[in-house]
Symmetry: C2
Subunit: 88 residues, 2 copies
């Protein structure tokens, strides 16, 4: 099962590492705790919509561009699962 | 500020009403409480990723197709805000 919070976490982590930034740096800019950001990135916690916006802002992303990336990832994972089911 | 939970709620409600289904019907199929579904649709509660998948399944939607609709809505709202800022 594809989980939204996991795709969101992966996209946030990918963006942060592409910017060569640390969890501490982004958490400070987003005014969230380092532990919170880390759990969100690992897909262990659902980010609240307000804090998701703060994290996007800290990364210089719009919510729309993040969700675009998330949607592509979810759609691709769902398609991969359909292929596996077809082949079974 | 565009909030993810509000866009998700609007897309869920729009899909349900297009199918002429009641909150009670979809909540039962998704195995969530009617109050929970109602709060999610009104953007008052963040749906957990697991329950969001159950609601999508009850509506015959993939998570990817829901998120595609949500992303279009968020992007359009963000663009509208940019236009307002430019005009100011």
């Amino acid at each position: 099962m594809v989980l939204l919070r996991e795709s969101v976490g992966q996209a946030l982590r990918r963006t942060r590492t592409e910017q060569s930034r640390t969890l501490r740096d982004v958490a400070r800019d987003a005014r969230v705790s380092l532990g919170y950001l880390s759990e969100v990135e690992r897909g262990q916690k659902e980010a609240s919509s307000e804090l998701l916006n703060s994290i996007c802002e800290a990364l210089g992303l719009t919510l729309g561009s993040l969700m675009n990336e998330v949607t592509l990832e979810i759609t691709s994972a769902e398609t991969a699962k359909l292929v596996v089911v077809d082949a079974a």
